[in-house]
Symmetry: C2
Subunit: 152 residues, 2 copies
Amino acid sequence: MPRKLSALDPLRLDNQICFAVYSAAHAFNRVYKPLLDRLGLTYPQYLVMLVLWERDDVPVKDIGEKLFLDSGTLTPLLKRLEAAHLVKRTRSSEDERQVLIALTPQGHALKEKARSVPPSILAASDCSVSELVAMKDEIVALRDRLNAVIGE
Amino acid sequence: MPRKLSALDPLRLDNQICFAVYSAAHAFNRVYKPLLDRLGLTYPQYLVMLVLWERDDVPVKDIGEKLFLDSGTLTPLLKRLEAAHLVKRTRSSEDERQVLIALTPQGHALKEKARSVPPSILAASDCSVSELVAMKDEIVALRDRLNAVIGE
DNA sequence: TCACATTTAATTGTTCGCAATTGAATATGC
DNA sequence: GCATATTCAATTGCGAACAATTAAATGTGA
């Protein structure tokens, strides 16, 4: 019996790695949602907070470079984090073009509440840490190759 | 020398597989953008067309189940595809609750133009087909485990 | 110095993505 | 047969995501 043609069809949905990635991102988002609701954060806001918990008082551009997001996404998101009293936005005195993002005490404090999130995600992944790390490294390598093509 | 603590920090951005997936999805989107612009499609619209090129004349719900999207996303998207004369939306006569989505002749014809897309993506991935297939299968398995947790 | 380019955020407009609700059609239990 | 529940698409509202543009600040070269 010949193999089904569809198994090789380059336009078949199930053969698209991009769709695997796209749908996995949505699946992660849905798992994170109830966990982050308790922190009062959306998933992209959580990513911004992860950046700030590592290093604080950074310009918008630095956050954008780490998360691959631009000011059109970050400006309103950061304003919402400011409205939630998690960050403060202040224009740099050295370079008036820059807006520096700093954590408020509440923003710092939220990190402790956030520590319960990664274990829940790990449990939902139903997978060993070493397997996840290996997958993560592969996906990051693919992402970086794709991003390299874009900059041409 | 002790290993850097950050290499194990569960809240470190670079240790998040979800961020790897999230940022890879955006990278794919950016690579697809110029290719799909030529077809007059956005990436989610392209996914819907992939579904319809496999099977036509299906209710909105079927498309949603395949793509993990709900009517809040699909209804306006399908209306835009209809405005672009790629699909026709007709209420089923057997079950008036359902709206059936059928390709127009232009919708069918677009498939031929789309055949050039996957090879370009493969090239941008800078990776063998077998490696991509292996990664895709791993990511799909992870996605399905995550989705299984959501339904609880 | 002064014209010009570059950098940085902010803004605008379009398109997702989803939760929550609505309303209509259909199915089910009694 | 009829009340009730379920199914399905549409709608509303909010939060991303990004392209394109704007505006202000800074840097550069002649």
